[in-house]
Symmetry: C2
Subunit: 428 residues, 2 copies
């Protein structure tokens, strides 16, 4: 029975029962972590053979004999570019293969915008009175942290089932020259697992912006991270933007952090000819080159896009049961009481759980007290503030299946207890 | 006989002889490169066993079982910090182990100064009307490129046999609040191979600056790059600055680019508690972490500072004959004619050759035409402009000993031909 339909007596009975369960969990001194989107040990083992794949000098040579153990190739090896060109469906000449982290590429790109501006703009963003960015929310906390750190004002845009609210996006960028860009995780979005519809992607490609130097930061973090054979399809914004006559509007980012090793993967950016030429002109001042031997490891291990996709099926086989366990628990422990909604992603790393307004921070605190660490309530919103205090990001990947089962049980009890108390409070 | 003492007839005879030699070389269609400070293939082979040193999961675990294949450790692994602490003689807590390139750390540090400022300063440097940097010259072209790219005005400071002209440095920084820092390669400086004297280091430590946010960018690129058993000793600026009561004045940088693999090494920065806390607070926005597996490779291969120093003896054995070949050629082919001076470094990657004023660009062009690529004349000076047009940076490391021998022969002929022509021109 839904809590909203229960009598006060029924709710008091339910509260007592839940409090007992909660106290039991608390007494067990648990220490469970569902806070971050980290692969588990078994996933890391999938790429273990990559570590010693470069044996001897020959493994470090390009097809034409270039020695990747030495300086050079500021924009990445041709072989690594070819691999990512196939994966991203972008021409190799529009790709720069960089270091170990797409987050640091995105930060660096934003810092470059601040210090130099972008092609078609009026100089460095840091010289402007104010810079604003659109932030589809809930979204990725580390994107928002980059803006906050650089003093870029964030404007929330609600996420809809097919991507950001494009009516709002279009109306905001049309008149405000201070709005310089938008953060997007277009496939299996963090935290909702939403994939932008074709129409949303096309509207991005055609976006009419008052700022001549507007950029879409297109973080395709989960491009090949399907949980099921039949994954979501994302339209190619690079192509669509070109067709729409504004190829410069998009910066694409991706990495192998959740394909090979987080922290020891390879990350890339892709963009139009003009954008890439501009980035390279500054990049050659920043560095002599990125780690070509690590690019070589990835190329030799995966061979091509098909190799990556085969590899991702092994990840999916490990992750699917975890996602399904959480969703089944929510169906069993939350659905009957009408106290929450959640997403059912077909890929990515997260499930987004929406409680009644005003409940998320309480559930987070209760869970913490019982030894279950969740991502901070509000983390998925700019400045860490969820305006409705209702969203929790569930990260099921890192714990073992046993730990996860227990953690979700505790979480569900915390959700129910908070909901019952809220319901009782409304009655009083 | 010195050219200055020759009669016109003697000079004309010499010119004819040299022109014939030059034409002979030119006819051979040579293609020799002495332009960049790159290790040669044999040096790269010294570290080849590092490539597959991580075999299996256990090799990726820290002493206490942390899995370095996953996210975390924004400031580097404790093991890597310990290794560099020993090498740099700086406490581990004052070190951040980062990515593959100290140049990119230096760029990033400068960008951070521009965007955020530094502890003790008045905010972001990019908000100031003008920022100036002192550039001991000749110096490292890529340092100067960072300033030029970010619009930082460069002021030349002459290099003396014991480091930069400290009288000039002290008098400049005393009154000008726009001077925010200085670039230094304190040991085996690029390109002269000069090691700063203890007195120079102490004067840096005690430097009285009008700008409260002045920083010494101390690029210890050649800290263990001795050519001889008896290397130069560099006083520890980190310690001296602390003793002098201004620990925050220095940012130290180093890398293993010329110890293990250029582009696939590990780079670090070191600084005071306050500086490090400030950098970390921004770094955690920039990245989740650097490549810990590559740190682990280096730690397992080298073990400790003694291991690095043993390894560097093997590099020295390969490099010494090359330096000695060049110096012997200069002694034989240039010294008798009184047309040049050069440094005789005990370490590092370069020899600095000073010709008569107005000769460097001509020699560069002549050599180029004969198939010998040198570092651009003027490259070692801010904005690529050598005020006296006399300096050439000689990079003897990359060519084979045979190629090097031939390249230096050609170079010496070009130097002599240019000098003879200049002498004749003076007479006419």
């Amino acid at each position: 029975m839904k809590y909203a339909q229960m009598t006060k007596e029924q709710l008091i009975g339910e509260e007592k029962l839940l409090q007992e369960k909660y106290d039991e969990y608390k007494a067990r001194g648990l220490s469970l972590d569902m806070s971050r989107g980290k692969p588990d040990t078994n996933q890391l083992d999938l790429s273990i053979d990559m570590l010693d794949i470069l044996t001897g000098k020959e493994a470090c040579l390009s097809a034409n004999g270039t020695d990747y153990r030495n300086y050079g190739f500021t924009d990445g090896t041709p072989e690594a570019k070819a691999l990512f060109a196939e994966l991203l469906e972008v021409p190799a000449e529009n790709i720069i293969v960089m270091g170990n982290s797409s987050l640091s590429i995105m930060y660096d790109t934003m810092a470059r915008c601040m210090l130099y501006g972008v092609p078609g703009g009026n100089g460095p963003w840091c010289k402007e009175e104010k810079v604003k960015f659109l932030c589809p929310s809930p979204g990725y906390d580390r994107h928002f942290a980059v803006c906050e750190s650089l003093g870029i004002e964030m404007i929330c845009v609600p996420m809809m089932p097919d991507g950001p609210d494009m009516d709002l996006v279009e109306s905001l960028v049309k008149n405000d020259t201070q709005i310089k860009g938008i953060w997007c995780v277009p496939k299996y979005s963090n935290p909702e697992g939403t994939t932008y519809s074709d129409e949303t992607v096309r509207r991005f490609a055609r976006l009419q912006c008052a700022a001549p130097d507007f950029r879409i930061f297109w973080d395709n973090a989960y491009m090949v991270h399907d949980l099921y054979e039949e994954g979501d399809n994302l339209l190619n914004l690079f192509e669509e933007a070109k067709k729409a006559g504004q190829p410069d509007i998009v910066y694409l980012f991706a990495s192998t952090s959740k394909i090979s090793f987080p922290g020891s993967g390879v990350a890339v950016m892709a963009a139009s000819d003009r954008n890439i030429a501009h980035v390279k002109s500054i990049l050659q001042v920043q560095t002599i080159g990125y780690d070509k031997l690590n690019m070589q490891r990835h190329v030799q291990f995966f061979k091509n896009a098909a190799g990556v996709k085969e590899h991702m099926k092994k990840h999916a086989a490990l992750l699917r049961p975890k996602f399904e366990l959480v969703l089944a628990a929510f169906d069993r422990e939350l659905a009957p009481y009408g106290i929450a909604e959640w997403t059912k992603p077909k890929g990515g790393y997260f499930i987004s759980l929406n409680l009644s307004d005003g409940c998320a921070a309480k559930v987070f605190a209760l869970a913490k007290e019982a030894g279950v660490t969740l991502t901070n309530a509000g983390a998925a919103f700019p400045y860490g503030k969820d305006p409705r205090d209702r969203n929790l990001r569930i990260a099921p990947t890192y714990p073992t299946i046993e730990e996860l089962g227990l953690a979700v049980e505790v979480l569900c009890v915390c959700c129910r207890l908070t909901a019952v108390e809220q319901q009782l409070h409304k009655m009083s």
